[in-house]
Amino acid sequence: MIKFIFCLFLIFVAKTSFANLAYITNEKDNTVSIIDIKKNKVIKTVEVGQRPRGIIMSKDGKLVLICASDDDRVEVREAKTLKLKYYLPSGPDPELFILSPDEETLYIANEDDAMVTVVDMNDKMIIDDIPVGVEPEGMGLTNDGKVLVNTSETTNMAHFIDTSTLDISENVLVDARPRVAMFTPNDEEVWVSAEIGGTVKVINPSTKEVTHTIGFEIPGVNEESIQPVGVQHTKDGKYTFVALGPANRIAVIDQKTKELIKYLLVGQRVWQLAFTPDQKTLLTTNGVSNDVSIIDVDKLKVKKSVKVGRFPWGVVISPES
């Protein structure tokens, strides 16, 4: 009996110790910080390739993929230890990427050569390069993985790509310097943030029409420093969170009405966002204050900030095991 309880205890420990780890890429430190979200503490910092930016995870939480921008490749690491498993090829200066739902294809935006590179995860080879606008960055994918949306920062467009043919089907002009494209959980809308334009455009993916343009006004904050980047939707369709860069705030928006609910004050120059799997907590990367803000989604309050490395850029959170 004691043995049984001990086993249960072990399983419990194993489970809690694995769940809810956040991985933060520190662009100027060439490291990844691992935060235990329950303890709100950095438990480990690991050296990775040069200029790490985009970071994603496999569904089973076993692999972490990191864009090592200055090494011109993608690193695949074991999530638990962050030990390097292998490299994937990319074009020059990979910045953001996204995995297909079956996890067999990786789509990479290469900031330096106006291409979206398509990589076969099994062969670890480049299948194709899709010419897009200048300085591609944002990558959004529908749940079925059929439509990929890429944004190009200097061309100011959202490119809709048919993933079965790897051809561009349509291009939609958005505001200046689009950074992130994010489909709503029901795939009925794709939201595109424009950093210099200061707006978020909501596009209907079937008609390719812009249905809403969301602007921001914060009393006491200069219009020019409101620079939307990261976008995250809650799965229940209630809220959308938009990181506003040097305005140091997160805008909370009603996902249905597109109306502003609230601004949350976070660290300086906030860019990327990630939810915990239960969607009760949201993490933000604050590049200039070198920390991560932890937000309680139900209460819409900032709980705590955690110091990480220099210029935290991307964030990904492990799934529940």
Binding site: T154, I168, R177, S225
Partner: protein
């Protein structure tokens, strides 16, 4: 046996050397490698068949880049090569950027490069270009040369983008409805620098002005900024020694700067005839700011924020050298035209001008905030970099300088002060 040790040592050296090469900035070797990889992929892509998304071309736009051949000035520094292709690669890169966008919307762009030679007449050459029906000009000329352009006929229905002259008069009493300025004016630069010096509480200046007309203009702007921000200019001197200072600076400069009480030595010497030789040679230990030392500028090789790294890399890959201010201005001008045409779907001079001077226009130009044009004098409003030779020190406007419309308008002549009347 020994030879094996030698081999090991050699290998270690080899690896070590390799790591040294792997600096954060792309080394020439990395750029070469990228070029090779790009070429290889390009070939593979061609084999797979062309995938380019392109719409039928509905709008073709031709731009003219106009510059002048110049006499090579005496070499004052052995460090920086004298360039005769400033602006060229800026235009080339921007045309490529415009074409990328254009491909998706059916717009085509072309640039023609015209260089007026030393024995040619600028006015008549320009008239020829006008007679050919050209309407959009990117012009790398100084103040005097720019003025002669407006002596020609038909210069009303065109737009000229100034990418070199910083003269304040062109933005004020001599402004023109169809002349847009990308470079920050002297007064914008001096305000940007002064804001920072005020923040540092370096309020007592020693101003040294060079012999050139441009140096005087720069110094005038500095004096106006000093007045605006309540700075005391303790001493003003003109540097009129014409000797090559490389060997004698150690003797001349201490005496020149002796006996004054000041916080910073502010220097106006655009050509760099003596400014470079002031550092470390003043009587008292004082920092140097202005055209040397800490310099206000629109672009600098140390700039890497807000995506500038991408621009620097792309430019170096294209040209094999660092991007200079005129290159940046030319890039910004051509991209502005592209942006106006993309948004308005028209390449008529009237529509472009209206859009660029209107409230809707905003261009991402690697400065953290959008750049746009001041509707009252056609000057591009933009953040100003404050750069030391090897590091970016700050970016103006400094915190706390507020403005009802745009904080960028705290630098240079604001609308109420402007004497420009279109």
């Amino acid at each position: 046996m020994r030879s094996i040790y030698f081999l090991y040592i050699f290998l270690i050296y080899f690896c070590f050397g390799f790591f040294i090469l792997e600096a954060r900035e792309l080394s020439i070797k990395q750029i070469e490698e990228r070029k090779q990889a790009d070429l290889k992929r390009l070939k593979e892509r061609e084999k797979r068949g062309n995938k380019k998304f392109s719409k039928e071309i509905t709008l073709s736009t031709k731009l003219i880049f106009l510059s002048m051949e110049r006499k090579t000035p005496p070499v004052l520094s052995n460090l920086d090569p004298i360039l005769d292709d400033e602006g060229f690669y800026g235009v080339k890169l921007a045309i490529e950027d415009n074409l990328t966008t254009g491909r998706f919307v059916g717009h085509d762009y072309k640039a023609e490069f015209h260089r007026v030679l030393l024995d040619e007449n600028l006015k008549s050459e320009f008239q020829k270009l006008l007679n050919q029906g050209n309407k959009l000009f990117i012009v790398d000329l100084n103040e005097k040369e720019l003025k002669t352009l407006f002596e020609t006929s038909n210069s009303e229905e065109i737009i000229i983008f100034n990418v070199r002259s910083k003269a304040d008069s062109l933005r004020n009493e001599n402004c023109k409805k169809n002349l847009l300025h990308v470079p920050p004016s002297y007064s914008m630069l001096s305000d940007a620098l002064t804001q920072y010096l005020v923040k540092k509480k370096w309020n007592k200046w020693f101003l040294v002005t060079g012999p050139d007309e441009n140096d005087r203009k720069y110094a005038d702007a500095l004096k106006k900024s000093a007045k605006k921000f309540n700075i005391k200019i303790k001493k003003e001197k003109v540097w009129d020694f014409s000797a090559d200072l490389r060997r004698t600076a150690g003797k001349e400069v201490p005496i020149f700067t002796k006996g004054e009480k000041y916080d910073v030595l502010v220097v106006a010497d655009e050509k760099g005839e003596f400014g470079e030789y002031l550092t470390y040679r003043t009587w008292d230990p004082r920092p140097i700011v202005g055209t040397q030392g800490l310099t206000p500028t629109s672009w600098h090789r140390t700039h890497e924020q807000w995506g500038a790294t991408q621009m620097q890399n792309r430019f170096r890959r294209e040209s094999g050298r660092w991007m200079k201010e005129v290159d940046y201005h030319a890039w910004t001008a051509v991209r502005s035209i592209g942006e106006a045409i993309t948004r308005t779907s028209s390449n008529e001079v009237k529509d472009i001008r209206e859009y660029l001077l209107g409230e809707k226009f905003g261009l991402g130009a690697y400065k953290g905030v959008k750049v746009s044009f001041r509707s009252w004098n056609g000057q591009m409003r933009q953040p100003i970099l404050l750069a030391a030779p090897r590091s970016m020190v700050s970016v103006s406007p400094q915190e706390g300088y507020i403005h009802p419309d745009s904080e960028l308008d705290t630098m240079g002549k604001d609308q109420p002060e402007s004497t420009c009347k279109f």
